[in-house]
Amino acid sequence: MSSFIIRRSRGKSLLLWKTHGFKITSSFSPSSDSVSASGFSSFLTRSFKTTSSGNISQKFGDFGYPENGFVSMTRRLFSSDAVAVPATCDGLTVERIIASQWPILDENESDWKSHAAAIAQSIQVIKRRLQWKKLLVRLKVLSAELNKNDLWDDPLHADKISREHGSLMGKMKGVVTFERELLEHIDMLKLTKEENDSELESETLMALMDMRRVSKEKELAALLSAENDQCSCFIEVQAGVGGTESNDWAAMVMEMYKSWAQRHNYSVTVVDEMPGEMAGIKRATIKVNGEYAYGYAKAEVGTHRLVRISPFDSGKRRHTSFAAVAVTPILGDGSTRVQINESDLRIERFRSGGAGGQHANTTDSAVRITHIPTNITATCQNERSQHMNKASAMAVLQSRLDQLEMARQTAMNAQHTQSLTENSWGNQIRSYVLQPYRLVKDLRTNYEVSDPDSVLEGDLDGFILSFLSYSLDKGDTEH
């Protein structure tokens, strides 16, 4: 209870600073630099148990911080019980904010709860990405190591341990700081309400809004931080069995991705397209060019199922069709790419018999390249010269071989085997029902949308982001 009073008074002192001309953001900085080592609730141990305690007391001195007197010497630099959970005066934590399920409104709505909920959500995603629980356990282990008296008997080992500790500590601090900033804003808002300081209230609200934007960026960065996420990619759609109806479905899926890519301002080029006999496509490959195209699109790998009354069925019966989606990254020149031997390739051109050469004038210069050792093929017919079709098909082939190699390496790395097999081509990931009811549901995340049209028009980000954060979840709970 005593800590509550102290913090209340600290809040007031912040308010006091404000009225004395301190910028509100700078008044937060001393506390945000400090990471509680053995519990936020106790101010006695709060700031100085971190490595930057000297710096902090310096700052506190500058500000004439009233708690300056509490800062004292400590011998233990590395605490074993790591972080306590940051909370507001009345005990609100990030977890509780999430549990309260405050509705998240548009950014422009000046509702602090909505902002807080959005930020809390982002923080949660970032924590998952860091495998938070695992990170804390590891920190504990490392701290214990560092506190051993004989640590420096093996300088190499000590160096390694302290490096890792430093790096993890940095990551942890970053998040905790962010968390604390959020909660302090909330504290401040309550206080301004009590004090009827509308100017400061709106200023804090603005700060919260800024924070929301920053946290969204951090969240995205956390979601898309896998090795090749920033790459461009190829998206390939293949119609399932079932003729015209499923060819039409494959074309719809391809259109969905084209529109999605346009929404993201990615450039789209059709590399390969094999039309169906009556309608739609048997298969098609598009190249999606732009930052993080692969990071997002990889969430779409798998089989997509459609249920509807087929417009191609005169009997107006309900049909179920499938389309398989594959996504491969286009690795940059810097990454290690699979070396392709020219002698391993078989390059073929399709023509309907005939003598070719001068006998034939056609703008169709489709090329199929087969990588003989793996039997992987790539086709391109949408370029205007055979040379370019070949180059384009080579790029697809390279991308597929790169991915095969990545999959092979990941398989060796047992950690990821699970998620890999689950994401592979052939698993049904989403179902689109147009009749008798209307629903699009992701079978992995249970994320659903009751407006299939919007999804088919490319509004896929909800599905993609929920899958990406679900993947993080799995990563966190698995350990």
């Binding site: 529109s259 346009q262 039309p275 390059i347 073929e348 051109r349 399709f350 023509r351 309907s352 018999g353 005939g354 003598a355 070719g356 050469g357 001068q358 006998h359 034939a360 004038n361 056609t362 703008t363 169709d364 210069s365 090329v367 017919q381 949408n382 370029e383 205007r384 010269s385 055979q386 040379h387 370019m388």
Partner: protein, 377 residues
Amino acid sequence: MIRIFPSFRFTSLLSAAKPFCSVACSSSPAREPPPNLPYPEVKSITVSKTPKTPLFLRTPSHVTPLSEVWKWHDWAKDLASSVESSSTKSNDSLESVTLLRELKWLIEDTIVDDPLSILHKKEIEDDDKKKSVKLRASLEELYDLWKQRIENRRPFQYVVGCEHWRDLVLCVEEGVLIPRPETELIVDMVEELVSRDDWFKKGIWADLGTGSGAIAIGVAKVLGSRGKVVATDLSPVAIVVASHNVQRYSLEGMIEVREGSWFEPLKGLEGKLVGIVSNPPYIPSDDIPGLQAEVGRHEPKLALDGGIDGTDSLIHLCHGASRMLKRGGFFIFETNGEKQSKMIVDYMTNDLKHCFSDLKIVSDFAGIDRFVTGFRR
């Protein structure tokens, strides 16, 4: 040996003189040769012709309402889609898939703004309908061009005035053979050779019967700055078009375009060439009437007809190669296929004994034995 068919040449020039379209020549008025005048002899033709400007290089001066463009696009699409059902399934029929792709390219070449805006119609709002786009040809002409493509079977490359070949965009027009995808491989083979042996980069190459200049330009680009290519052609139209293409790629310093039959313009270079490349006419005369409509009705016979068995020009080239190539010099000739390739190799080994080594037959991507290559002993 008869290499020149005056009547064919005459018709090919005639078709070349047919105005491409009214707008095409407006920026660069062409002085066409009077069509009724017979040409007694090649040398006497003095053509002061300017090449036709391909669609994609024209000034986008035709401001057209988007809605009108859509209307044209719908019409063109319908026309393209209807061909397969109407024509009997034979070897010489148009395919909707190909036509629709060509339509996309026609739009790419015609519309200055993002062509996607036209193809993704459903996303365009109502107020967009009032918008206008800048076209490089009038709608009237576009209707006409697409009709020519489908009803007259005019080759797409003549319709847009260009052919994408390797990484090049070459201007083409009636009177000049449209370079074929197979022929790209000639440049690939030269590239492979010169990357292995620098000697070939420094010497003089010849492209005989250059047409649009495709092979000469392709080869010059793989030779690098020290290379030199002499490109010859009998057809004055080809000379104009090839020179224009050479200019477009700023290769005047490396490629010299000379008018005349095969080796005639190369006097003084006997035994001095390091390489000879050629895609000569090789279709047997009897096959000419049965050619695909785009080829038979529109492309110059001069560039197609290879005599009774199609090897007239090829045999001539074999002799020329033995005379003109340096020791160690390289040649590639494109042929009609397996039979001709074998004939040429046999001819070179038996009738031109000890002249050539390493004779090889190389197939194209369709698996047809398309090229004969070898070295001068």
